[in-house]
Symmetry: C2
Subunit: 89 residues, 2 copies
């Protein structure tokens, strides 16, 4: 399945959450990652993220798509982040 | 079509971009809005957002879904923002 993950977490936990996300997904915008995962991988990702965030302060949203046939993506502003661009960390 | 909008903009322009987004979509997470739009409404939204952001500093991503049949959403942490919760502005 195709997974889009959007995180809004306290700056204290951004590096940690992003690091987890990048083990599974491609980092496409500052707070957005996406990619194809098996259900088992998604379960692991969600579990790791749930342990890393503070549920009283942070929010993470996962969009799960069984098919990308009906999905298109458009961007404004900065292009998708190349994986090497980590200077903001 | 169903539109998911995720913005990563400089704090100076957050209020402006969010205000535009909310004219068209529901605010579901700090940097995420979503909702059903006509192609004409989406065009207007994208146009307004493009004028409000600095393309050298900001990024906005739109996911467009012709059908939500294959979409599901899961959340961790804070629940979807009720529209009245604007204290962070």
């Amino acid at each position: 399945m195709y997974v889009i993950m959007v995180y809004d977490v306290n700056v204290k936990r951004v590096v940690k959450v992003l690091k987890i996300g990048r083990k599974y997904l491609e980092h496409v915008q500052n707070s957005v990652l996406e990619g194809e995962l098996s259900p088992a991988q998604y379960k692991k990702l969600k579990h790791e993220v749930s342990k890393a965030i503070d549920p009283e302060e942070d929010a993470v949203r996962f969009y799960l798509l069984r098919s990308t046939r009906y999905l298109s993506t458009e961007e404004l502003g900065l292009p998708s982040r190349p994986e090497q661009e980590t200077s903001f960390l």
